[in-house]
Subunit: 349 residues, 2 copies
């Protein structure tokens, strides 16, 4: 059995306690400075107040100041911070790790550069090498996984990706339970791109339900699922195109990290809710100043982070703009405060 | 402008009145013998009582006995009967058509033979040739399209498929409106297989919500969307495998006729409801004898119709059984009254 130290006690990092503890691993759950109340609650009675789940008794909770203690002797670091917290987390790892411990990232996002996007695990790996000289294996997990459901031990399938397939297989084997079904993949760019961009495209799918509220009621009280379905299948096409253009494997977009995760992301959550508001006719800024004030919306933050790189790749022809009408419309809505108009006539079959 | 005669005044055939009439075509809506009350209602006040929509004034309603009159001088026959009614419809076409009028099928299904499945439009085309010597062009439409939403003129994307691409393009051009977005395809087997089998796989996706009702309630009231998402992405994989094995184009499964239509089919409808009941632990027979007595469940009827052919193709190695675990589980549930067990551990990433 292994010793796993989780850094970041948000809902997704904490939900990983379930398969880890159920497989008999020692689990040390470490909050960030934003998680102090969560760790206090877990210490007091085991209850994770955001996940609304009582964590297994054998979980050891640590405050962020004690991360060195939590990481001491760990065989695996699980990185569960938000994408905005990745710089802070790299600093902590550089501070406390004595050597190249394997890292498993739950954090989603892309690291943009002028004319390309990098997978976040590659970035973390490079930073650990540059700053500490470590050759640490950095792997990652992608959904379809709603944290609260994993916390309740519902059947959940995930993909564990590493550039070293045997490492991905080792981690999948280490984590699998009767309800947790991780699969191994070595398509780092494909898995990470889909994990990040499914949030972005879920905004567009959410447009349909919001737009419905602005339409005159139909005699037969028809919904707007047909419109959502066009956008949904276009989103899969664009996920596949972006994946291919950035060097990933197209079939990743058609599997659990793409289509599967997009499906579950459209069922609920903040990305959909932003889409609903854009469908109602609000702009992104109006939504952030109004009904979603203070909310972290992952797909919108990703859009803002990658907009310059994606537009530059379209200008240079690395990406074909005419094949990405949904991406273009979303970038305009998220970074230029344009109304989100779904270009139905330009979507693909 | 054209004259279109629709045969079959169910919800989907009748919803086609909207784009046809809005494009200025003359539309003659002909019921089957099962649609007499519908046609009476449309005659009386325009209201389609199942679609719950008032049809455009220029629609001319015909009872089935007057189909010859409705078809007289038509440039296009739209076939909107159920898959069970296809034999009856072919008889009517052979009776009344004076020559090879183009046919556009809304009817979904596969025509099974010992060791393969045929697309229904190909079968209709062959029968018209065999019985009347006609070389009629038979095309078809596939969703994602909920009839009630098209009846309410909501944005709807479809694929029109013909073995003759220019015919598919001609029909798409003839039908497109501001809200109706048909695309042309020549992948007859791919489009028709996905249109039929998405109903079959939607049963499995519906399993998750039904199973949830049998589980002890979670502290955090977690749903079962993660499980549905694994099944959803596996369904897309198996749609693609079946498509490829039968000579269709794999990317059709990843587009509107596959992933897009599966998405909308999982939002509502009888296939999902059957899945819910199987998830609750009922068998197919118990469901048909109980909560869904008398209901036509398209995905289940397809499963029963193709089971012998698919099993024979698995036995002969034309289909790889180990790559189709969901198909196997569904066939067992639908034709051998086995409980539907989702083989989570055997699904693909």
């Amino acid at each position: 059995m292994s010793v796993a130290a989780i850094l970041g006690a948000g809902v997704m990092g904490s939900a990983m306690c379930m398969p880890l503890a159920d497989r008999g691993h020692t689990v040390r759950l470490t909050g960030t400075h934003l998680d102090e109340m969560i760790i206090e609650s877990v210490r007091a009675n085991g209850l994770h107040p955001k996940l609304n789940v009582t964590l297994p008794k054998q979980i050891a909770p640590f405050q962020h100041v004690a991360f060195a203690e939590a990481a001491s002797g760990a065989d695996l670091i699980v990185l569960g911070v938000s994408s905005a917290g990745i710089g802070w987390a790299i600093d902590r790892l550089c501070d406390v790790l004595p050597g190249p411990v394997p890292i498993l990232m739950i954090t989603k996002g892309m690291h943009p550069q002028t004319d390309t996007l990098h997978a976040l695990p590659d970035y973390v790996e490079r930073e650990l090498k540059r700053r500490r000289g470590f050759d640490a294996k950095v792997s990652a997990i992608a959904g379809p996984c709603i944290a609260g459901e994993l916390g309740a031990r519902r059947h959940t399938g995930t993909v564990i990706v590493s550039r070293d397939m045997s490492e991905a297989q080792r981690l999948a084997e280490m984590l699998k339970t009767e309800y947790y079904h991780p699969r191994a993949s070595e398509d780092m760019m494909g898995v990470e791109l889909n994990a990040a961009f499914k949030n972005f495209f879920a905004i567009a799918v959410g447009w349909a339900a919001g737009r419905l509220e602005t339409l005159p009621p139909a005699e037969n009280r028809a919904f707007n699922h047909n419109a959502a379905a066009i956008v949904f299948s276009q989103a899969i096409k664009e996920l596949a195109m972006l994946t291919r253009a950035l060097g990933g494997r197209e079939d990743t977009a058609y599997g659990m990290p793409g289509a599967g995760d997009l499906y579950v992301t459209c069922m609920a959550g903040r990305n959909s809710r932003l889409g609903n508001n854009l469908g109602r006719g609000l702009t992104y800024k109006q939504t952030k100043d109004g009904p979603m004030k203070g909310d972290t919306i992952e797909g919108a933050e990703l859009g803002a982070a990658v907009a310059v790189s994606l537009r530059s790749m379209m200008d240079s022809g690395l990406l074909k703009q005419e094949e990405l009408p949904l991406t273009v419309a979303l970038l305009d809505a998220l970074t230029r405060d344009a109304p989100l108009d779904i270009p139905f006539a330009r979507l693909h079959p």
